[in-house]
Structures are given as structure tokens and as C-alpha cells.
């Protein structure tokens, strides 16, 4: 039986949607658009990606307006059912604002947008990291102005205790607390990541390490 399609959410201002579409197709899977104004049936999809961009221009807090969209209500149902959900960059911010993930992403320490390749470490297994990959170092690009993860001190400790910090920077580019690049929900199916795995799925892109994460969509 053919695998169910992968749902890619689109908000006004999403701009990494086509990149994610291309990456999903590169992996041999079928992508489908999910429009922000429409709700959907989670069971029709094998997993979900919330791509990066500048939803609603980031004019309020990043991700704050998108978090109220009808499609995010359906996404919350999918989260409760344990389906895999990955928020990348602005998608990560949307998942935090919608309460599917804890914490918040604030302006980079240097106050500037940063585009560069970074080294990352996978720290725990979840829906987007197989246990065999834990401990691996990945080379992925970042491109964000507001990627500094923040949460109160006891909250951070709890994230580490629960293995919810699944990805950290080897050389912190933005001042993120405890070098955090990605966190997951306590159940591990909802994950957020600031770097862009969809921009590293073939050698000509400069790295194939994004496959280590995205290929978990293959069931």
C-alpha cells in the first residue's frame, strides 16, 4: 500500500514551503499542501511539516498569528494522536506559540539575521531521530533572525531531564540557552528545529545530513 502523503502547512508569508515540498519528493514521498484557513483530517496524513518563513510578516511575535489558524487546530489533534510533526525555523516558532512546544524563540544575541552552516549534535531519539542516530554530528544551514531559544531555568532543566532537548549547536551561533537548536514534546512526536534539514538533502546542496531527520517520515 502506498504511504499516506505528508502534509505541509502554508500560512501567509510561509516561504520555505516549496523547499520542504522538494525535499519530501526527493525522499520519494508524496507532499500535500495544507492551507492555513482550512481544517483537515489528521488520519489522512503520515506526518506533518510546518515550514519556515515569515508568517504574517512576523509583525506581531514570530508565529503568534499563525498559531491561531484553523489548520493549527487540526495540527493539535494530530499532535494528541501521536502523529509526527516537525516545525522548522518559523515553523518551530509557530509550534511554540500554539503551545504544542514549550518556550519561545527570541531575537539572536547579535541582533542580526544569520545565514551559515552549523554543526549540530543529535542528543535524544524521538519521532524525528532514530536511536541509532543519537550522538551523531550533523552539518545543516541556519537562516534566522529570531532563533534564540528561551525558557525559565526550571523549565529548561525539566526539558533536559525528559530528553526533550534533541538537538544542540556545537558552536552556538545565536545565544540560544544551553545551545538548544531543537526541542520536542514530552511524547517526542512534536519536534521543533531552528536549522533547515530541507536545505541539505543532496550533495549539491552542500550536505545530505537533513535526510537523517526527514527520512523518519518513511514508515
Amino acid at each position: 500500500m502506498a504511504q499516506k502523503p505528508v502534509g505541509i502547512l502554508r500560512f501567509l508569508g510561509t516561504n520555505c514551503d516549496r523547499d520542504v515540498w522538494q525535499a519530501v519528493e526527493t525522499l520519494g514521498l508524496t507532499p500535500r499542501w495544507l492551507w492555513h484557513e482550512d481544517t483537515f483530517h489528521p488520519a489522512d496524513y503520515s506526518g506533518f511539516v510546518v515550514p519556515g518563513g515569515f508568517s504574517y510578516g512576523d509583525y506581531l511575535r514570530c508565529g503568534a498569528l499563525a498559531a491561531k489558524a484553523p489548520a493549527v487546530q487540526s495540527l493539535s489533534e494530530a499532535a494528541k494522536k501521536g502523529q509526527p510533526i516537525l516545525g522548522i525555523c518559523n515553523g518551530f516558532q509557530i509550534l511554540c506559540e500554539s503551545g504544542l512546544l514549550p518556550g519561545v524563540l527570541v531575537r539572536n544575541e547579535g541582533r542580526r539575521f544569520i545565514d551559515k552552516w552549523v554543526k549540530l549534535k543529535l542528543r535524544s531519539s524521538n519521532a524525528w531521530t532514530q536511536s541509532a542516530s543519537v550522538g551523531r554530528e550533523l552539518n545543516l544551514p541556519i537562516a534566522h533572525g529570531e532563533g534564540r531559544f528561551f525558557l525559565e531555568a526550571d523549565g529548561i532543566d525539566r526539558l533536559f531531564e525528559n530528553n526533550q532537548v534533541w538537538c544542540t549547536y556545537s558552536d552556538n551561533p545565536n545565544g540560544s540557552l544551553k545551545d538548544i537548536a531543537g526541542i520536542s514534546s514530552p511524547t517526542g512526536n512534536v519536534c521543533g528545529l531552528m536549522p533547515h534539514p530541507e536545505r541539505a538533502v543532496t550533495t549539491w546542496m552542500g550536505s545530505e545530513d537533513g535526510r537523517v531527520i526527514l527520512s523518519n517520515l518513511l514508515v
Binding site: 501567509l12 508569508g13 516561504n15 520555505c16 516549496r18 523547499d19 522538494q22 525535499a23 518563513g53 515569515f54 504574517y56 510578516g57 512576523d58 509583525y59 547579535g110 542580526r112 539575521f113 544569520i114 545565514d115 551559515k116 544551514p141 537562516a143 533572525g145 533547515h196 530541507e198 536545505r199 549539491w204 546542496m205
Partner: protein, 727 residues
């Protein structure tokens, strides 16, 4: 009254000759809104009145050209169903007044030129010229321009993948901000043009509401600056990249669904230029109810509506039965549309305000009958040519000093603020000398590179004009790309001054000749005159953007050493020689260019790089600060080289490592490379030498050894994390 009339001429920036011309065309005095219309459309910025005579010299084409000058952007055919639209444009004056918004709206404007035609924007590039880093305001200007480009380009989701940044005191009071955008049409996607068609079709306004920003912007950009440029701040437009992103998606959707007849963006001189051009080109009239234009503020009047340069607005023509589907698309993307009027059978613009006709005029009088000036100029004479370079002249600078200079050091601080990968097509980014995009349906490589070296222009405007095409063509050729076409952005001072106009003519003729020889036509462009502040003119700067194509991206040569033991070959076609001093100036040059020979040699370079047997692993064009600088740039943290200057160096020069010759290239490959280059070199009156080999650990130029870590550190951290570290 005479004085009142004179004041009016001044307000609308019309000369008395121009007024007489307009009067003669109309057969009467100008009335009401006509003043504003003539002011805008006959401005230098809109009419190209000082340059048109010479721009005709670019009028040559190739079978690839589908659309050249006269449309929003030029379009070339890449074959296999893929077509490319691209253009470069200046936003110099607004960026000096208000750097963030000036640069941001420059990016927004050039993007609209591309997607207006139906092409999806896939790449942005920027050509920036700043003054001395220590000059007043320069730190704020650099920071502002870079963050403006970053803020706009990143949000609209188009990668900024290459650029050029220059520093010279001639730009202290007049910086240059030129933006280039490239868009792609894939198989079956239509090209939309701007002529209005179909009597009874609707004239539709889409996008942001109209405000007072940018009123008189076009005529402002057509004047020299006085000391009080800050007083012109209200004429600068404010950009909204989020709105632009919505416009990109919605416009491309209505175009791909074939719902529109024509589209034009409202750029310089806003609604006036867009509607008059659509009407004149289509040979039809347009009726427009100006009071239906969506306004930010109800007090904005008809004249301001016509001249406003509010951003992110488009004018489109659609058949009446398509209005609802068009509305549906735009509303889905959160944008409002408004019908302003309809297409009329006779070529007449009919402007109404509260159902009363306030202006009725043949649009061609404004678009096609603008005055044309053949400004005085002198025949070009090379100025600093000597028979031999002075032995102790420029070039006697040490490699670390060169690498750490503002002219030569890494621009990473700038481009790290740009999203270089959004869109998922970037193969080579701003780190490289040529940006490379992978064409999604065929997997072919598209190379994009900017040209024009102000230091060479200051040396000689004719050599500089040739170089503005040949240098980027060589960069493409050294990576195996066939140069296909060019766009230009001709930044010059006051054309009413003979020396400036002479440089303009000399460099335009050289550029046109070079593009013909390369078979790479100039398909779009922009002229920016009056880059003069308080009597000081900028370095004449004909910036170019060139695109090239190669059949694959797999065997693309690297831009750094990849393997110890590789042979390093210098391949030179002798022409003009010179050396930059530490502050980036050239005091003299010897020799002359043979343009025909250069064009043939460039083909030979590409032929060798792409031939299977050549086994070239890396390449780099020798540019500023000569072979020494190029070798330093080829070096990595671990791989350097041991090289000798015997044989190839000009003995008269104090330091052969930093002397330049137009043109030369470094090729790096499997040992035995020299003999492969020699097989081709002799046919082109060119010469090749083996300089040495790639070696781990250090870069050794003759007897001076440079630790790699140190060189890289000097090159990369000159301005650290902040431009202030340089200033």
C-alpha cells in the same frame, strides 16, 4: 505672472525648453494635472532623455532573446522549456537619504519587475559602493543598507546569492545601491507583457494602499544632491516585504491561470508611469477613476495619487468575465482589488475625479515624445597609459596587508545577514566568485555574477567598460559556464558635464562592443545619472549582472584547493597591466586590450575547463591584487601552495604577486595540467606557466612563507562581527 510660472517650473522640475516642447505638442499651455504628468514622465529617471541616444548601441540580439529593453525585464530562452527573466536597477538616492528603506524598496522594486512578467524570482544579487569606511555617516549607511536588503529579501523568500561591495571616497556623499533579480519560467508558464489590450477590459488596482510616500521620487532621483538631502526624506518610499510575498504568490497564480491580459508594477512615478506606458504601448486608451484608488489617508489628492511611489502595488488589465476569479485569488492571499476603469478604443488617457474628467491626454505625448538630449562629450583618450609600469610603483604591498584592507577583505559580515538558500536551488552561494543555481527541471547549472570594477573605471573608462563585461564573462568561463546575456545599471555623475558624459559614452560603447563579441546581449537595464553631491561626482560605475549556463553541476570546479600535489597553472592573455596600491587606486597602466582576442580566449578557457580530459579541480580568476591574492583565496585552513615568480613575472615590477594583467586565470588540477593548457594556449597568443603545486600547511610565495591560519584570520576577521570594527 512670470515669477509664479518660474516657481511652477521649479516645483515640477521642468526646464523652460521642456515646457515649450510640451506646449507645442499639446497646442496650448499645460493645465492642472498635466504639470505633474510631464514632470514625472519627462524626468531623466523615466524618460532616459540623456542616455537614450547611446543606449541604442546595445541594440543587438541573439536567438536566445525573447524579450529585451522596453519591458519590465529582459527574458532569454535557456532551451528545454526553461526561460529566464532578469534585470538590475539602482536605488542610490533613496538609499543615501534613508538607507534601510531605500535599499529594501530597491529589492522590492526589482522583484516586481520580474514576477510582473510571470517569472518566479529565484535569486537576488547586490552591487554596493560605499565611501571611505571612516567617512561621516558611512557606518550607519552600511549597516542600514545591509539590513534593508536582509530585512526585505529574507522575508519575501528569495535568496541573495551573490554581490559586490566596494569602498572609495568618491562615494562618500553618494553611495550606490544596485539590486539585480533573476526569475525563472518553467515549461508552459506564460510570459506576460504590459501593453493594454481589449476595449472594454477592466483596469484593476491590486496591492497596498496609496499614500504620500515617494511623491516626486522619480524627479528627485533625476537631480544632483545638495547638502540638505535629509530634507528629501519624505520622498523615500516605505516597503513591506510581507505584502510583496503575497503579491508574488497571487500575481503568479492569476498569470498561470491565464486570468489577466497585461500587468505592470507601479514603480518610479507610480500609477502615472504604469498606466501611461500600458496605454501607449497597447495603442489604446484607459479610463481611470482616481477617486477609486484605495488610500491610506483620505486627504491624499489626485496629483499625489498619480505621483505616489507607495510600494507593493500593481496595475492589471483583465477581461470583465475574469474579474471574479481574479478577485478570488487575490482575496485568498489576503489582498484587496479595486476596479479603476476600463480600456478605451482611442489612445487617450481619461482621468476622472468624482465622475468629472480632470485630464484627457494622448499618453504617447508623454511616453514617446519626451525630449532627447545628445549631451556634448569628447572622443575617448586613454589617460594614464605608460610604456612600462614604474618599478617601484604600486603593487609593493605585503600579502597580509592586502588581505586585511577594506578593498580586499571578506564580505562575510554582509552576506551572512542574507538568506542564501531559501528556495532550495543554491549550489554555490556568496562565498564563491560565481553564484550557482540548479535549474529544477533539467538539473543544469545557472551561473550569476556581477561586474564592473570601479578601480579600473577610475584608471580608464573605456578599459573599465570592456572589463564590466569581460571580467564577469571570465569568471563564468573559468567555472565552465557559457555567458548568455547581461543586464546593466549605469551609475554616473552629472551628464551635463562633458568629462562625465565622455566617460559614459566611452564605457557604454565598450560594454556594447564586448557584449556583441561575447554574443551575450544586454537585455535589460537602468541608467542612474546625477550621482553628484555638492559638485563631486562618483566614480563612473557601469555595474553589470551576467548569467551563464552549463549542462550540469556535478563537475563544477571548486574555488579552493582540494588536493595536495595538484599543479597550479597561470594562463595569461597579455593586455593591460597595472597594480592597485593599498587603498585600491591605480596610478598608471601599460598595454592595451584587444577585445576580439579576449572574447576568443574566453571561449578557449571555457572549452578547457569543461573538457573531460583536462581534470581541472579548481579555478580562480586573477583580479584585484593579482596572483598573490588569488592564491590566498584558493587556500583553505589546511591547503596552501609553494609557488615561484620566475618566468612569468614582469621584471620591472617591484612585487609581481600583486600586479594584475587583463586577463589571467589560475587553473588547478592533476599534475601535467600545464601541457594540456599549452595545447590550447598557443592558438590564442596567450601563455601559460606552472607556478608550483598545492601543499599542506602554508602559502609560500617565492621565499616568503605565510601561515594559512593567519592569512584566513586576517582575511575573515578584519571587520569581525561588526562593520564598526573596520570603521
Amino acid at each position: 505672472m512670470e515669477t509664479e510660472f518660474a516657481a511652477k517650473l521649479k516645483k515640477y522640475r521642468l526646464s523652460s525648453d521642456e515646457y515649450e516642447r510640451a506646449k507645442k505638442l499639446l497646442g496650448r499651455d499645460l493645465q492642472g494635472l498635466e504639470w505633474a504628468l510631464f514632470s514625472a514622465l519627462w524626468s531623466e529617471h523615466c524618460s532616459y532623455k540623456s542616455s537614450k541616444v547611446h543606449l541604442k548601441k546595445f541594440a543587438f540580439s541573439s536567438p536566445r532573446v525573447l524579450q529585451a529593453m522596453g519591458e519590465n525585464a529582459g527574458v532569454i530562452d535557456l532551451g528545454e522549456g526553461e526561460r529566464l527573466a532578469f534585470k538590475m536597477e539602482s536605488h542610490n538616492h533613496p538609499s543615501f537619504i534613508e538607507p534601510y528603506q531605500g535599499a529594501a524598496t530597491g529589492v522590492g522594486g526589482i522583484l516586481r519587475d520580474i514576477f510582473t512578467m510571470g517569472a518566479r524570482p529565484i535569486a537576488l544579487a547586490n552591487y554596493l559602493c560605499f565611501g571611505d569606511p571612516k567617512a561621516p555617516r558611512m557606518q550607519a549607511l552600511v549597516e542600514g543598507v545591509v539590513s534593508g536588503i536582509s530585512g526585505y529579501g529574507n522575508c519575501v523568500g528569495v535568496p541573495t546569492i551573490t554581490g559586490q561591495t566596494e569602498f572609495d571616497a568618491s562615494y562618500n556623499n553618494n553611495i550606490l545601491v544596485n539590486a539585480m533579480a533573476v526569475g525563472l519560467f518553467t515549461e508552459g508558464e506564460p510570459i506576460v507583457t504590459s501593453p493594454a489590450r481589449g476595449v472594454g477590459n477592466l483596469v484593476v488596482y491590486v496591492g497596498a494602499k496609496t499614500g504620500r510616500d515617494g511623491v516626486h521620487g522619480a524627479s528627485m532621483a533625476s537631480e544632483s544632491f545638495a547638502a540638505d538631502s535629509a530634507s528629501k526624506r519624505p520622498t523615500v518610499q516605505i516597503g513591506d516585504p510581507f505584502f510583496e510575498k503575497l503579491l508574488i504568490e497571487s500575481c503568479l497564480e492569476v498569470i498561470q491561470k491565464d486570468l489577466v491580459v497585461a500587468i505592470q508594477d507601479m514603480g518610479a512615478a507610480g500609477l502615472t508611469s504604469s498606466s501611461f506606458e500600458m496605454s501607449a504601448k497597447g495603442g489604446v486608451g484607459l479610463r481611470m477613476h482616481l477617486d477609486r484608488v484605495p488610500l491610506r489617508d483620505s486627504s491624499v489628492g489626485p496629483e499625489e495619487i498619480l505621483l505616489s511611489e507607495s510600494q507593493e502595488r500593481m496595475l492589471l488589465i483583465c477581461e470583465p468575465h475574469n474579474l471574479e476569479p481574479v478577485r478570488e485569488v487575490f482575496e485568498r492571499w489576503g489582498l484587496d482589488i479595486q476596479v479603476l476603469g476600463e480600456v478605451l478604443p482611442t489612445p487617450e488617457m481619461e482621468l476622472l475625479w468624482k465622475n468629472e474628467v480632470v485630464c484627457k491626454i494622448n499618453p504617447a505625448l508623454l511616453t514617446d515624445h519626451a525630449p532627447m538630449h545628445d549631451r556634448p562629450f569628447e572622443k575617448w583618450q586613454p589617460k594614464k597609459q605608460v610604456s612600462n609600469l614604474s618599478p617601484n610603483g604600486a603593487g609593493d604591498v605585503a600579502l597580509p596587508a592586502v588581505l586585511g584592507s577594506p578593498q580586499a577583505m571578506s564580505r562575510r559580515w554582509i552576506y551572512q545577514q542574507y538568506d542564501q538558500r531559501v528556495g532550495g536551488k543554491t549550489v554555490r552561494d556568496c562565498d564563491d566568485s560565481v553564484a550557482v543555481v540548479r535549474l529544477p527541471t533539467t538539473g543544469r547549472g545557472l551561473g550569476i555574477v556581477l561586474g564592473c570594477r570601479p578601480s579600473v573605471m577610475r584608471m580608464d573608462a573605456q578599459v573599465g567598460g570592456y572589463d564590466a563585461a569581460f571580467y564577469p564573462a571570465l569568471e563564468l568561463s573559468a567555472k565552465g559556464f557559457e555567458p548568455l546575456a547581461l543586464t546593466d545599471c549605469l551609475n554616473f555623475g552629472n551628464p551635463e558635464r562633458v568629462p562625465i558624459m565622455s566617460e559614459f559614452v566611452a564605457s557604454v560603447e565598450a560594454l556594447a562592443h564586448a557584449s556583441r563579441l561575447l554574443d551575450a546581449p544586454v537585455i535589460s537595464g537602468n541608467v542612474s545619472f546625477y550621482n553628484e553631491t555638492m559638485g563631486v561626482n562618483i566614480t563612473s560605475t557601469p555595474a553589470t549582472g551576467m548569467v551563464g549556463l552549463r549542462p550540469d553541476i556535478e563537475s563544477l570546479p571548486a574555488s579552493h584547493f582540494t588536493q595536495s600535489g595538484d599543479e597550479i597553472v597561470l594562463w595569461r592573455l597579455p593586455g593591460v597591466s597595472y597594480a592597485l596600491n593599498a587603498s585600491g587606486q591605480i596610478s598608471e597602466f601599460s598595454g592595451s586590450l584587444e577585445p576580439e582576442a579576449v572574447a576568443l580566449w574566453l571561449k578557449a578557457v571555457r572549452g578547457l575547463v569543461t573538457s573531460n580530459g583536462s581534470q581541472i579541480r579548481a579555478s580562480r580568476v586573477v583580479g584585484k591584487y593579482g596572483v598573490g591574492y588569488a592564491l590566498a583565496r584558493l587556500s583553505t585552513e589546511v591547503l596552501g601552495a609553494r609557488v615561484q615568480s620566475t618566468g612569468w613575472a614582469n621584471s620591472a615590477s617591484a612585487n609581481p604577486w600583486h600586479q594584475e594583467t587583463l586577463y589571467e586565470v589560475l587553473l588547478v588540477g592533476v599534475p601535467g595540467l600545464l601541457s594540456k593548457v599549452n595545447e590550447v594556449a598557443a592558438r590564442h597568443r596567450s601563455t601559460a606557466w606552472k607556478l608550483g603545486s598545492v601543499e599542506a600547511g602554508a602559502l609560500t610565495l617565492d621565499n616568503s612563507e605565510h601561515a594559512l591560519g593567519n592569512l584566513l584570520k586576517i582575511y575573515r576577521t578584519g571587520w569581525g562581527n561588526h562593520f564598526a570594527q573596520l570603521a
